[in-house]
């Protein structure tokens, strides 16, 4: 029997603006509890919401990246409900007119339709202990955007890929760090399954509490299998909310959904409509940071990097920023990528540092790469210089001096003379080379290096050596 799977996602993204959505309290993560608040965040009577421009700009940028229609007027509504983490007894959100509507995102060949993107404010954070709960209002009021798909996804794989793509978008736009583990990106998933030949829709089950990208596919695969099994054994699927249980890699029933809660939405009349001019919207879009997908294309088409290298670089936004800085200074794109992927990554991992903490600036790295590419120093010497720069906090010139490295001779004529001298004295090796013994080439180059005292550029020497050897071919 075939089954139709239907998945819809609601993603909440916590923004990393400097101040909150409707108050000027600073936004920060992992700070001392209740040190980033002001009267509005705890709903003191008489406080009023004042909307944050950057949060609006961020939402426009994400809505644009999701190919959405952007409303030229912002309207806010109240969602009324009582909960211990909700200071005002209502949340300001956009019910009737979301900032963005009717967009899509391509996931491979699948088009995921996105219904709406709207702005709202986060709730307080609760810390649960066995006998009590502590409430920290630092999070209360941090700008959120909620992105809601249509129920149009038909596999766990596409759903998981969609969430990852959304994360990549908000990360590269600089809107959020998108860390699921830290709740900066939260997703609720609606899953329903029905027999392919059945005309009636499947029962919608909501899965919450998926706290890691790695768990999305596992949780959804489990939930889909659970529902299919239930249908096959003739059980009725209950409309309910389930939570993902990381330990058992399973979804567990949380609560049955009765009549949907009535949030008694009405317009927030402490705010007035906000007109967004074409100029404002276009400026927001124009000043957007480059999306991951755009970077990926640029790195491959413009810089000639492989898909493999591109993906490694794009795994970290900070690495791409460093790369982009270097790429503005030098056209040795492949070399820059290699340094970042190999030596720099190895060093950072070992030292437990992030690229932002790297003491070598993009300027210095490019200078080092130029030294190598110009043949002034060998690759091996380059690595020594790099290590010395890190260790002694020196620039390229001083590191070279410290290591006593002098520039390699790269003049064609000098090298050719040495090559000819060596060949004249090693007839046997020439013969060996011409009979296919590649080792002979290495030996001959080694002789040249020795004669020069290691001061010639090995790559150039090799090139000239091959030319001269071919000339002596009978």
């Amino acid at each position: 029997m075939n089954y139709d799977v239907t998945i819809g996602l609601e993603i909440h993204v916590e923004m990393k603006t400097k101040s909150k959505m409707f108050s000027s309290s600073p936004v920060g993560f992992m700070q001392e509890p209740n040190t980033l608040t002001s009267a509005y965040d705890l709903a003191f009577p008489g406080t009023m919401p004042i909307p944050n421009k950057q949060a609006v700009i961020n939402a426009i940028q994400v809505a644009h990246a999701l190919h959405m229609e952007i409303d030229h007027e912002l309207h806010f509504d109240r969602k009324n409900y009582f909960y211990s983490d909700l200071p005002k007894g209502y949340q300001i959100t956009q019910d009737k007119r979301p900032l963005g509507h009717d967009g899509y995102l391509m996931i491979g060949k699948e088009k995921v339709l996105i219904e709406r993107l709207h702005l709202e404010e986060d709730t307080a954070k609760q810390l649960h202990f066995p006998k009590f709960t502590l409430v920290d209002y630092n999070r209360a009021g941090i700008p959120l955007m909620e992105i809601v798909t249509k129920p149009c996804i038909h596999s766990a794989e596409v759903a998981a890929k969609y969430v990852e793509t959304i994360r990549e978008i908000v990360l590269f736009l600089g809107v959020s760090d998108g860390k699921m583990e830290e709740g900066q990106l939260r997703c609720d998933v609606n899953v329903s399954v029905k027999r392919a030949d059945s005309k009636t829709l499947g029962t919608k089950v909501e899965v919450k509490n998926i706290n890691s990208f790695n768990h999305i596919k596992i949780a959804l695969d489990y939930e889909i299998a659970r529902q299919i099994k239930a249908i096959e054994s003739g059980e009725k699927i209950i409309q309910e909310t389930r939570r993902y249980d990381e330990e058992h890699k399973a979804t567990k029933a949380m609560r049955v959904k009765t009549d949907s809660v009535d949030y008694k939405y009405f317009t927030e009349d402490n705010l007035i409509p906000i007109k967004l001019s074409d100029e404002f919207i276009n400026d927001a879009i124009k000043t957007s940071h480059e999306l991951a997908s755009e970077k990926r294309e640029r790195y491959q088409k413009q810089f000639g990097l492989s898909e493999y290298d591109t993906n490694i670089l794009l795994a970290s936004l900070d690495i791409t920023s460093y790369f982009d800085d270097c790429a503005k200074l030098s056209k040795h794109y492949k070399a820059i990528a290699n340094w970042l992927m190999v030596d720099i990554t190895a060093y950072l991992n070992k030292a437990g540092l992030s690229i932002k903490e790297l003491t070598i600036t993009p300027n210095q790295l490019v200078e080092l790469i130029n030294e190598i590419e110009l043949g002034h120093i060998s690759n091996k010497q380059g690595r020594e210089v790099f290590a010395c720069m890190l260790k002694e906090h020196l620039d390229v010139k001083n590191a070279k001096e410290k290591l006593g490295i002098v520039n390699q001779d790269s003049s064609d004529i000098t090298i050719r003379q040495l090559v000819i001298e060596v060949l004249d004295n090693n007839a046997q090796s020439i013969s060996d080379y011409h009979h296919g013994k590649d080792r002979a080439l290495g030996f001959l180059i080694g002789q040249v290096m020795k004669k020069s005292g290691g001061k010639v550029n090995p790559a150039l020497t090799s090139k000239i050596m091959i030319e001269e050897l071919n000339r002596r071919k009978k």
Binding site: A39, L42, A43, F44, P45, G46, T47, M48, P49, I50, P51, R78, N80, F82, S84, P87, K88, G89, Y90, T133, V135, D262, K264, F266, D269, N270, L271, I272
Partner: protein, 485 residues
Amino acid sequence: MNYLDLTITAMHEALVKKQVTPLELTSEAIKRIKEDKNNAIEYLCEQEALAFAKTLTTPEKDNPLWGIPFAVKDNISTKDIPTTASADILNGYVPIFDATAISKLKAKKAVMIAKTTLDSLAMGGSGTTGHLGKTYNPYDPSHTRMIAGSSCGSASVVSSSIVPFALGSDTGDSIRKPASFAGLVGFKPTWGRISRFGLFPFVPSLDALGFFTRSVEDAAILLNVLAGHDEADYTSSLVQVDDYTKELNNPLKGVKIAVIQEIIDSFTDQDIIKRFNETIKIYQSLGAKVDYVHLDKHLLMTLFPTYYIISCAEATSNNANLDGIKFGPYYDADNYIEVMKKARTAGFSERIKRRFVLGSFALMKENQNELFLRAAKNRHKIVDEINKIFKDYDVIYAPASPSIAPRFDSVTNQLQDEYLIADNYMCIGNFGGYPSLTLPVGFKDNMPFGFNLTAKPFMEAKLFNIAKALEDKLGYFNLSARNKK
């Protein structure tokens, strides 16, 4: 005569001439509060006021509020001074910030003397539902007549000459109605003209922070200080602020006054009607054109239900922050729902709970179209009709209350014209965000009553001009129960 009996303007002159000091005025105001028997005060700022008044030694000639004592309705946030909106659920609450209006008055070195009582959470019109129970009308020493509310305490202290002005709030007529019963000028500005930051919200789109004074000029002077855009109130207007005193003494020639016939028809007290007709003659004699215009009576009868539904509905949401967790009395329980429920059950009066339940019904998904949204549509219709009148007229004029202050034990039929229209039509001022002012015009049985003028948005200067012309003619200036003529 005591200097505290003067209007702001006259008191300012005496202060500048050093005939009296802020400390003397403050001490006298405190003394009068302690002797007062009208149940008007939630919190007396004795130490704070005296300490501040002592620092005021050099009169500021160009600052009309320098050293002037004032009182504040207790639903306006005052830093480090308890502010409870006369609701048990806020007992003990001490705000950590000042309302913008308070900051502005502090900057002008006016001296805050007391927080005044109100109908709990400003939800009521009788001046009987706050912490102190009934607030009495200072004109009635037998304590049988109300002063009305919700700004009952502020009306009372200005009427008793304890202070020359007091801040209030007006969502339906909460300043303008008590002003009528207390013989005062009661003013609510255009919506957005005075910042609401720090005013406890009841219905944000109807709420206005306003004040009581004992002269029209004082009201204009106060608006000069309090008007203006505020970055802390997103709904506060960017419309240019006027000098609201500049038109005060303009001749009324060319001024057009509309009287809505169907509103006047709903009044039954012939003494009020008689006086009203006399004032119309005065206006005409001053060169104003007064016309009777018509408005569908049926529409007028829907004013009150429209107001009631919208205000109850929004009040549920605006008071949902009151749960005993962040401020106010905390009640222990086994779970957070019970914690909140205990606080709210104990902290709200029965009357308020009834309004909340009614309001929540109006907002329910299955009812919202028929109740809340229909009321909002009707509000739209009402405002459209009023705006049609304002196309041809500067102000709409009518008595501010059906009669003099009612007795506490009087009963009203809530389905009668007199109740639905005469007693409640002033919410028009809130529906359309119009500036609106009540001024004293006469006495009956030794009790004062007032008439109301309502103007187009942002036409406060004109409104004061038209009000002052009548004040001048009638001589009802600086009335107080203390210095009854």
